[in-house]
C-alpha cells in the first residue's frame, strides 16, 4: 500500500519479490521503510510481487516507469531486472539489497548494492548454541540448500567449533519456505534422533515450525533475520519467545534506513557495492530479555571477543559464497552427528 504524505524529498518505491509477513527478511525491509517514513515523512510505496518469478521483471519495470526517484529491490533474483531497469532509466537511482549487480566496465553507476555478512551473525549464533547445548549436538534447519542459507550455516558451524571443536551439527533443509509443519518435523527429528538441543532455523515462514517444535519438545531455537523473540513476544507469544535465546539479525531495514540517511548527505556510494556486517551494525545477534534469561553470563566474554576478533579481522569467517560444492559437503560431513 501507499504511505500517503506530502513531502518534497525523494519519492521511493520498494519492490518485495515475494510477500510481506515472513516476520524476518522482507518484514525487516518493511520496518526500515517505516523508519524512513517516520523520520523523513517521505512518500514511500511498497509493492508485493507475489511468488511467481516471471512476473517480477514486468512489475519492477512498471515501478521504474512510475514517478519514483529511488527504487529499492532485494535478493539475487532481482539482480538482472534491476540492471535492466537501471540501464533504461539512467536518471533514476536504484538500491538492491542482499546481492550485488555487476559493476565491471563501470556500468550501473546509478545502482547501490548492499550485501550482508550473514556468516558473521551465524558465527555468533554458533557460539551461543555450542555454549548452551548439553548434548554436544546442535542443529540447523534451512529452507533450501542454497548459498544464502548455507552462508549462515557455515558461519554457525565455525562459531560453534570455536567453542567446542568436537561439536556435532545436524543439518536439514525443508525444501521450501512455506511448509511449517515439515519444519517442525525436521526439528523434532533432529531433537529426537540426533539429540540436538539447540536448533537454528533459517527458513522464513516455515521456520515458525522449528520454533514451535522447540517450545513443545523443550529445546532451544535460534531465530533468523529479525529479532524473532521480540516480535513473538509483541504478538503475545511469550511461550515461544521464551525458548529463543537469540536470533541472527540480518537487518535489512537498518541497512535501507542507513542508505537513505546517507542519501540525505549525498554520501551513498552509487555505482558500488557495500558489504555490511557486524561493523556496519547490519548483522549481529539479538540481545534482549530472553537472551539474558537463557544465556549464562559466562558466554558473554566469548561473544565479546569473537565480535571484536571479527571486526578487527583476526577471525575470518567462512562464506558459502564462492565456496565449491565439495568443500561445503566436507564441512557439513565433518560435523554430522
Amino acid at each position: 500500500g501507499t504511505t500517503e504524505s506530502e513531502s518534497d524529498g525523494p519519492r521511493i518505491a520498494v519492490f518485495i519479490n515475494g510477500t510481506l509477513g515472513d516476520k524476518s527478511f522482507f518484514d525487516s525491509a518493511n520496518l526500515g521503510v517505516q523508519a524512513i517514513v517516520d523520520q523523513y515523512g517521505y512518500d514511500v510505496r511498497v509493492v508485493e510481487g507475489g511468488n511467481d518469478d516471471t512476473r517480477w521483471q514486468p512489475a519492477l519495470l512498471d515501478l521504474a516507469d512510475g514517478p519514483y526517484d529511488i527504487i529499492i529491490a532485494g535478493t539475487w533474483q532481482m539482480e538482472q531486472t534491476v540492471m535492466e531497469a537501471a540501464t533504461l532509466h539512467p536518471d533514476k537511482q536504484f538500491i538492491i539489497f542482499d546481492t550485488t549487480v555487476d559493476y565491471s566496465d563501470g556500468k550501473h553507476s546509478n545502482v547501490y548494492s548492499i550485501t550482508y555478512k550473514q556468516n558473521e551473525g551465524g558465527y555468533l549464533a554458533g557460539i551461543v548454541a555450542a555454549s548452551l547445548t548439553e548434548t554436544g549436538v546442535i542443529g540447523a534447519v534451512g529452507g533450501i540448500d542454497i548459498p544464502v542459507i548455507n552462508d549462515f550455516i557455515v558461519g554457525y558451524i565455525q562459531g560453534a567449533q570455536s567453542v567446542n571443536p568436537n561439536i556435532k551439527v545436524a543439518i536439514s533443509y525443508i525444501g521450501g519456505f512455506v511448509d511449517s509443519a515439515r519444519g517442525k518435523e525436521l526439528a523434532l527429528a533432529q531433537f529426537n534422533g540426533q539429540r540436538a538441543d539447540v536448533i537454528f532455523q533459517i527458513a522464513g515462514n516455515a521456520g515458525l515450525g522449528v520454533l514451535e517444535a522447540a517450545e513443545e519438545a523443550g529445546f532451544l531455537a535460534i531465530g533468523v533475520d529479525s529479532d524473532q523473540a521480540a516480535i513473538l513476544a509483541e504478538d503475545g507469544r511469550n511461550d515461544v519467545a521464551n525458548i529463543i535465546p537469540t536470533s541472527v539479525l540480518k537487518d535489512v531495514g537498518a541497512s535501507l534506513k542507513r542508505a537513505i540517511d546517507l542519501n540525505e548527505d549525498d554520501l551513498v556510494p552509487w555505482g558500488q557495492a557495500e558489504s555490511v556486517g557486524l561493523t556496519e551494525g547490519s548483522v549481529g545477534i539479538a540481545r534482549n530479555t530472553f537472551f539474558d534469561a537463557l544465556v549464562p553470563s559466562s558466554v558473554l566474554p566469548l561473544l565479546e571477543s569473537a565480535d571484536a576478533a571479527i571486526r578487527n579481522g583476526s577471525v575470518q569467517v567462512d562464506s558459502a559464497f564462492g565456496m565449491d560444492q565439495a568443500r561445503l559437503d566436507s564441512i557439513r560431513a565433518a560435523v554430522r552427528p
Binding site: G1, T2, V47, E48, G49, G50, N51, D52, D53, T54, R55, Q57, P58, A59, L61, D62, L63, D65, G66, T75, W76, Q77, Q80, D98, T99, I144, D145, I146, P147, V148, G175, G176, A320, F321, G322, M323, D324, Q325
Partner: protein, 360 residues
C-alpha cells in the same frame, strides 16, 4: 449495415450464438464482481480498474508482457489439451516443464556446440525430457492400471527435486546467492523479436507447434485414433485402434510440449537456471485447455485472455492500492464464470424452443 450484422448473427448456428452470449455475460458478471471487490478495498477504484483493463495496453513493453506470458501458457494449454483429448488426465505438465527447462540448462552448459545449433539441441532434449516425465504415469497406467492423475501429481514433486539435485550438484554457480546455474552462453539464448519487449523467437516455435498440433489432432490418422480413444476407449479398441499406443503417445506428446515450454522459457526469459520453486504454471495449462474446450485452434486465444487478465492484474497491483491477493480471487472468479457451462442454461433452452418453433 446494422441489419446485415443482425442477419449474419442469426445465420450462425445456435450454439455459436449462444456461446458468444454466454461468454460475454460471464465476462460482464465477473466484471461486476470485480467492480464490487475493488470498490470495497480500494480508495482509488476507477484508477485501479483502469489499470486492470487498460494496463496491458499502456505501452509496447506491457503488451509485450502479455505475449511473453502467453507463450508458456499456450504451450501448456496444448500439452494438456492433447492429453485430455485422449481422456488422459495427466497433470504432470508442470513437472515436465520444470525438468525440460532443467535439461535445457544442462545442455547449453555442457555441449560445446555453436549457438543456434546449441539452442535447437537444447530445446529438443528439453522437450524430450518433458515427454519422459509424462510418459512414466502413462506407462504405469498401461502396464499396471494405476490412475495417471495421481501418479503424475507425484511425478511433479519428483521432477522438482531431481531438477534441483542436478543443478545444485553439477551446475551451481557458487557466486550466486540463490540456487542458480552458471550463466548460459549468450549465443544460446533465444533472440529477442520485438525491441522493447522480451518477446523472443520462442513465439515462432510456438506458432509452428500450434499449427502442427492442430494438424496432428484434427487431420492425421494418429490424431483421429487419439480422438476416438478419448471419446470412447472401448469403441476404439473394438475398432482395432491400438489404444495402448494412444495412451502412451498422447501423454508423451503432452509432455514434449510442456518440456518445450520449459526449454523455451529457460532460453527466452532467463540467462541462467534460476528457478527457486516449481513455476506456478502448474495448473494454468488445465485452465487454458478447458477454456479452449481442448481445441488447439482456440488455445492461443484462451492463453491470451488468461495472460491479459493476469498482466492487467499485476499492473493494478503495482500501480494501485489493490493488493495482489485480491487479484488472485478476481482471476479465479473470471475463470470459473467462463467455464460455467450451464450458466444461462434456461436462456439457451428458450433460444432452442424458439428456433424449433420457427423451423416448423
Amino acid at each position: 449495415m446494422l441489419k446485415l450484422i443482425k442477419q449474419r448473427w442469426l445465420d450462425q448456428p445456435l450454439d455459436n450464438r449462444f456461446e458468444s452470449i454466454r461468454f460475454s455475460m460471464a465476462i460482464v458478471i465477473s466484471l461486476i464482481v470485480t467492480l464490487v471487490l475493488v470498490l470495497l478495498v480500494s480508495n482509488e477504484p476507477l484508477f485501479a480498474l483502469q489499470q486492470l483493463f487498460l494496463g496491458p495496453l499502456a505501452s509496447i513493453r506491457k503488451f509485450g508482457n502479455v505475449i511473453e506470458s502467453m507463450i508458456p501458457l499456450t504451450f501448456l494449454g496444448l500439452s494438456v489439451a492433447i492429453m485430455f483429448s485422449a481422456r488422459q488426465f495427466n497433470l504432470g505438465s508442470s513437472g515436465a516443464l520444470f525438468l525440460g527447462g532443467t535439461v535445457t540448462a544442462v545442455v547449453v552448459l555442457t555441449l560445446p556446440l555453436p549457438g543456434f545449433v546449441l539452442s535447437v539441441v537444447a530445446i529438443l532434449l528439453g522437450a524430450f525430457t518433458g515427454g519422459l516425465v509424462t510418459l512414466i504415469p502413462a506407462f504405469i497406467k498401461l502396464r499396471f492400471g494405476a490412475s495417471e492423475l495421481v501418479s503424475s501429481l507425484m511425478m511433479n514433486f519428483i521432477a522438482l527435486n531431481l531438477g534441483f539435485f542436478i543443478i545444485l550438484n553439477y551446475y551451481r554457480d557458487p557466486q550466486a546467492g540463490s540456487l542458480a546455474s552458471f550463466e548460459f552462453p549468450s549465443s544460446s539464448l533465444l533472440v529477442q523479436l520485438i525491441p522493447g519487449t522480451r518477446i523472443h523467437t520462442g513465439l515462432l516455435l510456438l506458432f509452428i507447434m500450434i499449427v502442427l498440433i492442430y494438424l496432428f489432432i484434427q487431420k492425421t490418422k494418429w490424431g483421429y485414433a487419439l480422438r476416438m480413444t478419448g471419446f470412447n476407449k472401448s469403441f476404439a479398441t473394438y475398432s482395432g485402434i491400438s489404444t495402448g499406443a494412444v495412451i502412451l503417445y498422447s501423454q508423451f506428446l503432452g509432455g514434449i510440449l510442456a518440456g518445450m515450454a520449459g526449454s523455451v522459457e529457460m532460453l527466452g526469459m532467463y540467462d541462467r537456471f534460476r528457478w527457486q520453486a516449481m513455476p506456478t504454471y502448474a495448473f494454468d495449462g488445465v485452465i487454458v485447455a478447458v477454456l479452449a474446450k481442448n481445441k488447439p485452434q482456440y488455445i492461443p486465444l484462451a492463453a491470451f485472455v488468461l495472460s491479459y487478465i493476469r498482466i492487467g492484474a499485476d499492473t493494478m497491483s503495482v500501480n494501485s492500492d489493490v493488493s495482489f491477493q485480491v487479484i488472485a480471487i478476481i482471476q479465479g472468479l473470471i475463470i470459473i464464470m467462463i467455464a460455467a457451462n450451464a450458466f444461462l442454461a434456461k436462456y439457451r433452452q428458450r433460444l432452442v424452443v424458439q428456433e424449433a418453433i420457427t423451423n416448423d
